[in-house]
Subunit: 759 residues, 2 copies
């Protein structure tokens, strides 16, 4: 990779790639003991679930993200899997540390169980337990899967004037990057290593001194040190070429150093997915779980690692990376892991360099390189500067906070407390798909359920919330969560057309507000006789904010009627005169033959306690984690704005009024959730007779998924022919309002939808 390449290729294209993570977390009980319960059944077959499986032990959950084009998305995806898994555990936590929790005796550590299909997996694990001991298998960590984008590789290839084929060029690129990462990995461990102490139940054996050692060892990253889980022999693969790499590993197997290639615990593994002869991506395996981050890894750490890979690719190699150089790199790596807690200069390699100066120098070189390449993405520059600060001020590294906590509270209590904090956060954010927060909440919820069920998904058009779900031979295209293949197009068009909807419902004997459409004021006025004495709504065909609407509950005065007609015509050239039906409006969510949720919306309000002001009551109510701003949460915070002030004023109140105990004060007239309204679940409170009507209405239009709006004057009375009316059927109803209402149960419509989609 010559200078000329990054001189001619400029910009953030350098950052293009695919990023994936695999993380192991031990399940523990609330006292920090390794859980002896089985892997949660909800995640189904361990061999098939793309996101959640087990590693060595039944209690060692492995979470896998798909390759994603941006590190923020990848970390978010991992956090989401973490949330989902956490919420499926009963009285258990995910242990937030690479070093294991309290372990029972070897023979009690449950090896992952499999059905017949998984007998090979089981056998391999038994072999590993035999060879390395089961406790050693419980070191947990994070693997980072990384590839450059095809476009970046293509551009590099075209600019390199390389004489080899494109596939060979890619291999060379990945191998060089791998070699450089192996040389440089100590720097990552130095800054982000975070497995400093062990529980007394864990027996440490140091490879450099292969006998039991003091259990009170304290280090930067025990997992990356000689105490970590590793091969017995020093093994040096050939990273010079694909052929050489494969041959060298085959030789290790032949020599019975390892039983299979996968037993080679190298820091970096090239992966051959699309083609057995060419590298598809590589896996970086030195990442400790970060106990201070719920996901176990921060975007900053991962961006730094990515920057390090680019730096490796774009700087010249100084040696041939044969066994001698590899051994030196390994020593540097384990040395940093073991002694890196020292913030004073320390000397571990032959060069006797000051490790902190060396770290700073490299990071500064990376920053310079990024500038030269025209890479200016804020997140990366921030990560690099942060890394530089860590190198300059080693005691600001997170490992110190962990150590401090362990010293203060004890190893287990500190980590359990963290696990508990994360569980609370997982609960509070159970509506969210991290990294995909720009998607509609309904789609985020659906995708969470996809993850849970092991349904792979792909976002086809992010702005459009258009996704593809796939599990085995069931592929589904879904837009905005509820636009699916379950509904036929003609029914969608019928729902979309209010007049058609009403006509079809009426024919089926289902009550809708009767109405007439007028394009002439004279005709509308002449029809007074028809409407006289009946409660009517006179409204423009299209209206915003309810402008131009008059409700005449008596409609006996012709003058008033005529004026209402004129007012409506001021807002549209077509008006409707409709039967007025008094009552509350309810949203019935129908899937197939079932009403799966019923919701009622109430305008923004607070209930007095006799001593707080309206302002204080609003602030209190807004603390609900479900309330946020900008539709990123199921409910919106109540505003203390002009509209609210005006509405209070109309009630002779202001923000400083103190409502009496139990007094409900409304701050808005409209019941929209977007202006702070409350959503109240009525699913169990509405008589079945109304639900049957809703299902009949859906059947009349031949629709499977619909959000049906029904007015009911008295929910305590059973439905009759004339004590309800259906306003409309929505073909794209939101699901999140039924999953996270202000008041009532989570109706789990994402689960119901996934059922309906056949997953």
């Amino acid at each position: 990779m010559t200078k000329s390449i990054f001189n001619s290729l400029k910009g953030n294209i350098w950052l293009e790639g695919l990023f994936g993570l695999e993380k192991e977390n031990i399940r523990v009980d609330q006292a920090g003991n390794l859980a002896l319960t089985p892997h949660p059944a909800v995640f189904g077959n361990k061999l098939r679930h793309p996101y959640v499986t087990t590693d060595f032990s039944e209690s060692q959950i492995e979470m896998i993200t798909p390759p994603l084009p941006e590190i923020g998305q990848t970390v978010g995806f991992l956090e989401t899997i973490h949330d989902i898994v956490s919420l499926e555990l009963t009285n258990e936590y995910l242990w937030p540390q690479s070093i294991p929790p309290i372990l029972p005796a070897d023979q009690q550590i449950p090896i992952a169980s499999y059905d017949e299909e998984g007998s090979e997996a089981r056998e391999y694990r038994e072999f590993l337990a035999q060879k390395y001991g089961p406790k050693n298998q419980l070191f947990s960590g994070i693997h980072f899967n990384f590839s450059f984008s095809e476009k970046l590789l293509k551009l590099l290839y075209l600019k390199s004037d390389s004489l080899v084929s494109f596939d060979e060029f890619k291999d060379e690129t990945y191998l060089k990057t791998a070699r450089q990462m192996l040389r440089l990995r100590w720097l990552y461990v130095l800054l982000f290593g975070n497995s400093p102490v062990v529980d007394p139940s864990f027996e440490l054996r140091c490879k450099m001194a292969p006998y039991p050692v003091d259990k009170n060892v304290i280090a930067l990253s025990i997992r990356n040190s000689c105490y970590g889980y590793r091969n017995f022999d020093d093994l040096y693969p050939d990273y010079g070429s694909v052929q050489g790499y494969k041959a060298s590993i085959d030789q290790m197997v032949k020599d019975q150093k390892i039983a299979a290639p996968k037993e080679l615990y190298s820091a970096i593994r090239p992966k051959f997915i699309h083609n057995p002869d060419h590298i598809s991506y590589f896996e970086f395996r030195c990442i400790d779980i970060d106990p201070l981050t719920k996901a176990g890894i921060s975007e900053d750490a991962l961006r730094f690692l990515h920057a390090l890979a680019l730096y490796g690719l774009l700087t010249d190699e100084t040696d041939d990376f044969g066994p001698k150089v590899q051994a030196q790199a390994n020593r540097y790596h384990t040395g940093v892991a073991l002694y890196g807690l020292n913030s004073t200069p320390f000397l571990i390699d032959e060069e006797k360099q000051n490790v902190w100066h060396k770290a700073q120098a490299i990071i500064q070189q990376i920053i310079r390189l990024f500038t030269d390449c025209g890479i200016d993405q804020f997140g990366y520059m921030q990560s690099l500067n942060q890394a530089l600060q860590l190198a300059k001020k080693p005691e600001s590294r997170k490992v110190y906070e962990v150590l401090g906590g362990v010293v203060k509270d004890g190893y287990v209590p500190f980590h359990i407390q963290k696990a508990n904090e994360y569980l609370t956060d997982s609960r509070d954010k159970s509506y969210q798909f991290h990294g995909l927060e720009d998607l509609e909440l309904s789609t985020q919820l659906l995708l969470r359920e996809a993850v849970k069920r092991g349904v792979s998904f792909e976002i086809l058009d992010r702005k459009e919330n258009f996704v593809r779900l796939k599990k085995e031979d069931n592929t589904q295209y879904v837009k905005q969560a509820t636009k699916t293949s379950l509904d036929n197009y003609a029914s969608i068009l019928a729902m979309e057309n209010k007049l058609v909807t009403k006509k079809i419902l009426e024919e089926q004997g289902i009550r809708v507000p009767k109405g007439l459409e007028y394009t002439s004021a004279d005709t509308a006025k002449a029809d007074f006789l028809i409407h006289q004495g009946k409660p009517v709504v006179i409204k423009p065909n299209q209206t915003n904010f309810g402008l131009g609407i008059t409700i005449l509950k008596e409609n006996e005065d012709e003058e008033t009627y005529r004026r209402a007609v004129d007012i409506a015509f001021e807002h549209d050239s077509t008006i409707l005169i409709e039967e007025f039906i008094a009552g509350k409006e309810f949203r019935f969510f129908v899937i197939g033959d079932e009403v799966v949720g019923i919701l009622h919306r109430v305008p923004a309000n607070v209930t007095g306690d006799g001593f707080r002001t309206i302002r204080e009551l609003v602030e209190l109510k807004n603390q609900d984690p479900l309330r946020g701003k900008g539709y990123r949460t199921p409910l919106e915070k109540i505003q203390l704005g002009e509209a609210e002030a005006m509405f209070l004023k109309s009630q002779n109140k202001d923000f400083d009024t103190v409502p009496t105990l139990g007094e409900v004060v409304y701050l808005r007239e409209n019941s929209n959730i977007s202006t702070g309204g409350d959503s109240i679940d009525f699913t169990d409170d509405i008589p079945d007779s109304y639900k049957q009507i809703a299902v009949l209405a859906a059947k009349a239009l031949n629709v499977v998924i619909t959000g049906l709006d029904m007015i009911i004057p008295d929910v305590t009375a059973e439905a009759t022919n004339d004590n309800y009316a259906i306003i409309e059927l929505n073909f794209n109803p939101a699901i999140h309002i039924h999953c996270h209402p202000f008041q009532g149960k989570n109706r789990k419509l994402n689960e119901k939808l996934m059922n309906a989609l056949g997953y």
Copy 2:
């Protein structure tokens, strides 16, 4: 109905109602002989087809429109049925005259045949043949079914302060209107009667002189005269009340004057459809087929009849309408029918009035009444004024033109010539649904096919081309002809999203133009290396009129490439750089597993003959009945406008240039049909291998109906992996372009669609 009512109810609401027609036409061979062939099998079961059946004879086709809210639609519907039936006959015509064509001997006249289900219908016809003779049964005419709108009736009821129930009020309204129409029907016959002569094969018997009379009788309306088909006895139903009416008819049956109520051939029949005790509408039965109008009845005649009904309703009755008055009205009616050809004053009734003065006076009263009621619809005012002119100038009545034609050419030749003219017109307009010309042609074609197959339909939203089809238990909602229940919503959304479509097709190994999207000019420019040396189209993501698009067939010059990028960015903030694939574009229309039509569009053009100018060639080409203006026809006329002049100028031509023999001159660059382009059918000319790819593409998106655009460089070569490309799949493709191409076969996509919809 007092004056006060029409004083307080004003406007065209008076015209609201439902209007239906039933017309009989005898099938004849090309020599004018009664056809002895069976009823066309395409129309299926005679008892079930809502639009096309037979009356007495197997050769007497009866065409029935549904009740429609506007007379123009009703007449258009009838004309469309007439067109459809005409085109299904082989070497036969529909005889355009109420008086029969050349008839064989009685025993050879085929009575309508039925299967077992129709045995009752068959028996009744045999009874009629026995009682009245089969020839008399072949008088054919038109029945007009009419009801007032419910809203009009409701308003009249509310304003009338009537003490009876609304249903009884309606009965009273219909009965009064019926009585008045019976009194006034002579006026309709006087103006529009048109059955003046008979063929010698037809034996006339006059009821007033019940012995064979001179066959050379000439009259205004033989069918309405004493020679017409009628009951043997003078029968006077009681029109005073529903109960009285029913009782009087039961008495006739008891007295064996008639075998069943339906044997009573009164001029007006009240109909009881929704409720056996109340009138739903009435049937007016005095209309002669108008030989000068393809549909057999003009809108003008029908509007006049409607106006006459309103006049009857709104004027006071002068007598009790007992048998004596009925007999007098009958005499007046048959008298006018028999003697009404005289344009001089003639005296037929006891009052010895001048019939023309009386006619003029009534029409003037109607016009005055309309003015008083605030009715100002143009069509009605025109009809009334035209009727007044006929009364003032009796020799301008159509019957004279018919008589003149018969005198000149002979009875049979004159009518056969008319039938032949109408058949040509039916062929020329075979893309059209008369009265629904504002619908898209695709929808008109689909509805024609619905009529043919006996599928009832209803227009749910006219502007939206949203219809409901129904036959037996198959109900289908269809919008714009090709948006149906056959397709699932997710597939529609996938087709709608070009990026998603391309992704899915690519995954299936189907070739699409590869491309990249850019939002930054710098990035696009930096990618020159990727695109270099490959033919590309550089274009704004969204573009009108092709602005901002550059095609680089070589793409070796970076400067040109960079300029093209800048130009594209002038038109949109997102641009596409796509592989350019040379070749012709073809529209593949896919239904399910089959490519049912392939079309190629060519820009507006003329082919020289060596002596006509371009202008003359255009005028000649525009005479094609398929070419029209404003999308009412399958092709548009070529314009001689500025755009065409400019495009000719760029070829050093103008409208006066004379192209050489065989020279093709293009007048437009774009191939849109809307600017005069030609549509050329290629269905049989494209190798199956491309059709298979189109079907695979449809399957990949799981769509049933799609219009797929494919580029093919060489249609003589079989498809390979890389000699085609799919541009897009359209979820709402037009069908008319495949049914009525400029060149090639009618691919009958309306039939194919109806098959797919299960009809």
